[in-house]
């Protein structure tokens, strides 16, 4: 029995990596990627901007403007790499931490804040972005993703779905059922597990005795472990898995080996359960620094470029802040909206009663 205790600075075996933490391009026998300098700069920009969005959201929470925030710090490459692998017709099913994927799907960042500010439970139209709403119950969305993929099959369409979840979610029944369904129906889906090593306070050893990607073989489809802090590798591996799914070759499990550099959410205190040296070791594998080093070393970008991205990030943060503060609160009678699509007598009755009650204060 293998216990995977490779959490930390040592790269685990069987890891697809195309860009080292030092910014060196490396070859992999099964995966490669051919990116133009413009594409690399674009990925770098994505990484920096989503980190800035995340930073601003954390600050907004600290100042009481958001009730809670789930930070993506450290997972930018996994999200941007997989998110940029999607085509317009592919459909993504996120957890509540996929702010980077949302960015790739053109969801206005301020719309991500509604849920965390308490003005709604989800503020965008999934059909408009082919990006489903955040799902908070762990792992539930994986079944929705498989069902959606079964719909793609029935429509005879050329598209795939991608289901995001974390290492903790792999213990959930729904995730295991979704693996079974996807396998049995050969559904066009990619399971993208961001193994960030921690499910709140519980380390990976509390969820599994084998590397997560190897679970796939028991369900009858391929599993791959990719360096989740390597945006090139995440893009290449996800792109291939999505292509396989679209071409009728069924599901793939991708385990993006990464690290949650921040707390689980802003209510959490990681110093109670993990050592500082672990974070320090992972900082050396930062997903953004390695792309910056690659761009520098290969003279694909100059200081002016990096400055302009930083300036854009600052502007984005300031804009997000002002629009968050300007977000209107919902009205009290909005409670009764959208509970049912069709008229519902009890909703009408309670809405009318509460409206009358509120009017009593105005007289």
């Amino acid at each position: 029995m293998t216990v995977d205790a490779s959490r930390g600075a040592e790269a685990p075996p069987e890891l697809v990596q195309l860009l080292t933490p030092e910014g060196e391009r490396v070859e992999h026998p099964d995966y490669d990627i051919d990116l133009t300098p413009e594409e690399v700069r674009s990925l770098y920009r994505d990484l920096v901007l989503v980190r800035r969005i995340d930073l601003e959201a954390v600050a907004l929470q600290r100042q009481g403007e958001l009730g809670i925030w789930a930070s993506l710090l450290g997972q930018e490459a996994a999200q941007i790499g997989s998110g940029r692998a999607l085509t317009d017709t592919d459909m993504a099913f996120p957890t509540y931490r996929e702010h980077g994927v949302a960015w790739c799907r053109d969801v206005d960042p301020v719309k991500l804040l509604g849920l965390f500010r308490g003005v709604n439970h989800g503020g965008w139209d999934p059909k408009e972005h082919n990006f489903h709403l955040y799902t908070i119950v762990i792992g539930s969305q994986t079944l929705h993703a498989v069902g959606y993929a079964m719909g793609i099959q029935r429509d005879d369409a050329t598209a795939a779905t991608i289901a995001y979840f974390g290492d903790g979610a792999t213990s959930q029944g729904d995730v295991n059922e979704s693996f079974i369904w996807a396998s049995v129906f050969n559904a066009p889906i990619v399971f993208f597990c961001q193994n960030n090593q921690w499910a709140i306070s519980e380390p990976l050893e509390k969820q599994t005795r084998i590397p997560l990607y190897r679970r796939a073989s028991g369900f009858g489809f391929p599993g791959i472990r990719v360096d989740g802090n390597d945006v090139f590798a995440c893009l290449a591996v996800t792109r291939q898995a999505l292509k396989n799914a679209r071409e009728g070759q069924g599901p793939t499990l991708i385990e993006a080996f990464t690290y949650r550099m921040g707390a689980h959410t802003t209510t959490d205190d990681p110093t109670r359960y993990r050592v500082a040296s672990e974070l320090e070791a992972w900082k050396l594998k930062d997903p953004i620094e390695r792309v910056k080093a690659y761009l520098f070393k290969n003279e694909l970008a100059d200081q002016e470029f990096f400055d302009s991205v930083d300036a854009e990030a600052e502007g984005l943060g300031a804009d997000l802040r002002s629009r968050c503060l300007a977000m209107p609160d919902p009205g009290p009678l909005d409670i009764f909206d959208h509970v049912y699509a069709e008229p519902h007598a009890l909703m009408d009755e309670e809405r009318a009663q509460y409206a009358a009650y509120l009017e009593g204060f105005e007289r």
């Binding site: 709604n120 439970h121 989800g122 503020g123 965008w124 139209d125 999934p126 059909k127 489903h132 709403l133 799902t135 119950v137 539930s140 994986t142 079944l143 929705h144 993703a145 498989v146 069902g147 959606y148 993929a149 079964m150 719909g151 793609i152 099959q153 029935r154 429509d155 029944g173 729904d174 059922e177 979704s178 079974i180 369904w181 049995v184 909206d337 959208h338 509970v339 049912y340 699509a341 069709e342 519902h344 007598a345 009890l346 909703m347 009755e349």
Partner: protein, 326 residues
């Protein structure tokens, strides 16, 4: 007019819905070749194919969870939960996702998913095969909960449930599956809307409120009571959420005595909600408290004891007597 059993009426209703709309799918355990353990989906896979009548892996959360995904893609899945006691593995998907996702989306998402559940006892079954879990679902906002009691309603209501853009929990009275009635399958003009109750026997002295398998029991009680000179009104609620409150309250005010009958345990059962609402809205018209007849506050007993657990004609009449004792 054609004579159909309740299970066949459901089958014909689903067949009609599938013919009318290619997006309608059937999914569940053994619903294909076998036609379901109660044969409710008999012959549908043969006629509509395996892509539309889907034999699923044996996992209820997976059935409802993937049905949600199919609905997000524009399909209208009808899920069969094989027995009432097996709905609980799916309860998470039903309660946290199916019921709440439309509101979560601010109306951008509609989930026209029907979850069919054969319910109730009286067939001599083993544990977990005779339960009445409706109150768990009437307590969950975002779901419509309906219960059919007879073949004609079964034929109409299953089609209405499939056409509805909201998630519907659809209870089928399993011990009435084999009861037959004449149904006019050509005329839809007479259909009662799905969220309306129906007075199935008019009366003046006491109102009996029932749904699903207990409607027939109440009708039998009303016939027996007539011999004692008591006129019982029987209302088939049909829809538990939403409740057809105007019809129920009108009857309660007129008779002044109400007895609620269901198989589920009385404690925190749907009858408690009915009693509270009727008391709130008809207090000065009532001659007696609203009385409840139902299962005991015990797990469903072994089948040798189920005749004691299930309300029958005598227990209904006993409650009627008590209603006159105040």
């Amino acid at each position: 007019m054609t004579v159909l059993s309740l299970s066949k009426a459901l089958n014909e209703g689903m067949r009609k819905a599938m013919e009318d709309d290619p997006k309608v799918l059937i999914m569940g355990e053994d619903v294909g070749k076998l036609g379901g353990v109660f044969r409710v989906t008999d012959g549908l896979q043969k006629d509509f194919g395996e892509d539309r009548v889907i034999d699923t892996p044996l996992a209820e959360s997976g059935i409802v969870g993937t049905a949600i995904g199919l609905a997000l893609r524009g399909y209208r899945p009808v899920c069969e939960i094989q027995f009432d006691g097996f709905v609980f593995p799916a309860a998470d998907q039903i309660i946290t996702q199916l019921a709440k996702m439309p509101m979560r989306s601010l109306g951008a998402i509609k989930l026209p998913v029907v979850v069919r559940i054969p319910c109730g006892g009286g067939i001599g079954a083993v544990e977990h095969h005779s339960e009445s879990p409706e109150a768990y679902f009437t307590h969950t906002a975002g779901l419509r909960v309906i219960a059919c009691s007879n073949p004609a309603d079964a034929y109409a209501m299953i089609q209405q449930a499939i056409h509805c853009d909201d998630p519907v929990i659809f209870f089928e009275p399993k011990r009435r599956y084999w009861e037959k009635a004449e149904i006019d399958t050509t005329d839809t003009g007479w259909w009662t809307p799905m969220d309306r109750a129906k007075v199935v026997r008019a009366g003046d002295d006491v109102t009996l409120l029932a749904y699903g398998p207990m409607v027939k029991t109440c009708l039998e009680a009303a016939t027996a009571a007539e011999e004692d000179g008591r006129s019982l009104e029987v209302i088939d609620l049909r829809s538990l959420n939403p409740l057809d409150a105007p019809l129920v309250m009108e009857s309660a005010r007129r008779t002044g005595r109400v007895v609620v009958v269901h198989e589920a345990p009385v404690n925190s059962g749907f009858g408690a909600e009915l009693a509270a609402r009727i008391t709130e809205q008809c207090f000065y018209h009532l001659e007696s408290p609203v009385l409840r007849v139902g299962g005991f506050s015990t797990p469903y007993p072994p089948s040798k004891l189920e005749e004691h657990y299930l309300p029958d004609l005598d227990r209904v009449l006993d409650a009627v007597d008590r209603a006159f004792g105040f």
